[in-house]
């Protein structure tokens, strides 16, 4: 009931929120020239680095690639909950479990990889591509 009420009252209930989120996602790719996989691995690697030092509020982690006058600004929005007391070891096997989860949701939405093995493939491809450039 409360939700129905809230939907009635809230501006954010309409389809425009979806439009805005989808646009922001697609424009980062358009502007930066990254494809789905590249953006997903960029996001994942960034999160890994940040999470080594900070505990972040993951749902709000965002990447924005925006024009600002005649320069282009890459903005990483990462609300920090706390600094880690011990710097997290850079260990692939003990990857933060919920960062994986989040990435998976993104990937699924964008019909990219959904299985873990697949994802490793993708990040490898990305590295190879970069090396080739």
């Amino acid at each position: 009931m409360l939700r129905v009420l809230k939907n009635l009252f809230s501006k954010e209930s309409g389809s425009k929120t979806q439009a805005k989120n989808r646009l922001q996602f697609v424009l980062v790719q358009d502007r930066a020239g990254l494809n789905n996989e590249e953006l997903a691995s960029f996001r994942k690697e960034l999160l890994n680095v940040i999470e080594k030092y900070f505990i972040v509020k993951e749902g709000d982690f965002g990447i924005d690639y925006k024009r600002d006058g005649n320069t282009t600004k890459l903005t990483i929005k990462s609300p920090v909950v706390a600094k880690r007391t011990v710097v997290k070891q850079d260990d692939k096997s003990s990857n933060n479990s919920y960062s994986q989860e989040k990435l998976e949701i993104r990937s699924k939405n964008d019909s990219a990889s959904s299985s873990d093995s697949n994802k490793n493939e993708n990040s490898k491809n990305f590295k190879n591509k970069k090396a080739a450039n």
């Binding site: 009420l5 809230k6 009635l8 009252f9 809230s10 501006k11 954010e12 209930s13 309409g14 389809s15 425009k16 929120t17 439009a19 805005k20 989808r22 646009l23 922001q24 697609v26 424009l27 358009d30 502007r31 925006k66 024009r67 600002d68 005649n70």
Partner: protein, 272 residues
């Protein structure tokens, strides 16, 4: 073509009206702002750069008077002053039509630039109606411009294409201004359409005008009579205000998207 007394020695400001996506209102915008500038006493040339899909002539009600076109001028088939058509409604408004039979790449960017240079001495404003897309036709429309009006509707595909075009214009050192066309404030208020603030936020360029979805646009197109002559219409007065801003007048942009509905107020009170 007689040179009016009002024309100063300054060369015309050249604007390209563009969008990437088709059907968002480029031609409507070019015709309306062109007519509005003419009403304000500015000598204005509107150029149809949509070669092969000529439309500006019918929107302005001048289709029966087209003899020569921009391709004829570029290829020196006729003199520049032979191709322009004076509006029936205003002695300050002229149209340089597109060719309907040629292909988009029959003229080069160099030819367009040379062609328009002559007109710059004759007018205060030149508005170029760009074709949809980002290929040769778009490039031809941009080459002579140092200003741009990017038209978009508050829809996802139009905004994405506008973003692309803004990038291409920036690469040409043109800082475009935004026109949000065909907005429906009822939809904005109920959260089913992006607001002007949303669009600005996403595209990151300055807005020069907001035009509501308005039936008068279609009626005036039917009659070949620019909507600005109906100043009681919302779209007509919106285009008039944009023209004033292009003339340097400081007219604040007011958007009616702030919701005043009792529900929102109640919602805010309840802390939603």
């Amino acid at each position: 073509m007689s040179v009016g007394n009002t024309k100063t020695t300054k060369l015309a400001d050249v604007y390209v009206v563009t969008s990437g996506k088709g059907g968002v209102g480029k031609t409507t915008t070019t015709a309306s702002i062109g007519a509005a500038l003419a009403i304000k006493g500015k000598r204005t040339l509107v150029v149809d750069a949509d070669i092969g899909l000529r439309n500006l002539d019918v929107i302005l009600g001048l289709e029966s008077r087209v003899v020569f076109n921009i391709v004829d001028v570029a290829k020196k088939v006729c003199k520049p002053n032979q191709a322009t058509i004076k509006s029936k409604k205003s002695p300050n408004l002229y149209l340089l039509p597109a060719s309907q039979t040629d292909d988009k790449d029959v003229i080069t960017e160099e030819e367009v630039k040379d062609t328009l240079e002559w007109y710059r001495r004759e007018f205060d404003f030149i508005l170029i109606d760009s074709p949809a897309g980002i290929e040769q036709g778009f490039k031809n429309a941009c080459v002579a411009a140092s200003n741009a009006l990017v038209v978009t509707t508050p829809e996802i595909s139009a905004i994405r294409d506008a973003d692309r075009v803004i990038g291409l214009l920036s690469a040409r050192s043109i800082e475009p201004k935004l026109i949000v066309n065909r907005i429906d404030f009822n939809m904005v208020r109920r959260g089913d359409m992006l607001s002007v603030t949303d669009v600005e936020d996403i595209l990151g360029i300055e807005t020069v005008g907001i035009v509501e979805r308005d039936e008068h646009v279609i009626v005036s197109a039917n009659c070949g009579d620019p909507v600005v002559y109906n100043q009681k219409s919302k779209a007509g007065s919106a285009f008039m205000r944009i023209a004033s801003r292009l003339c340097g007048e400081n007219i604040p942009i007011v958007s009616k998207e702030k919701s005043n509905s009792i529900f929102t107020k109640l919602g805010k009170c309840l802390g939603f």
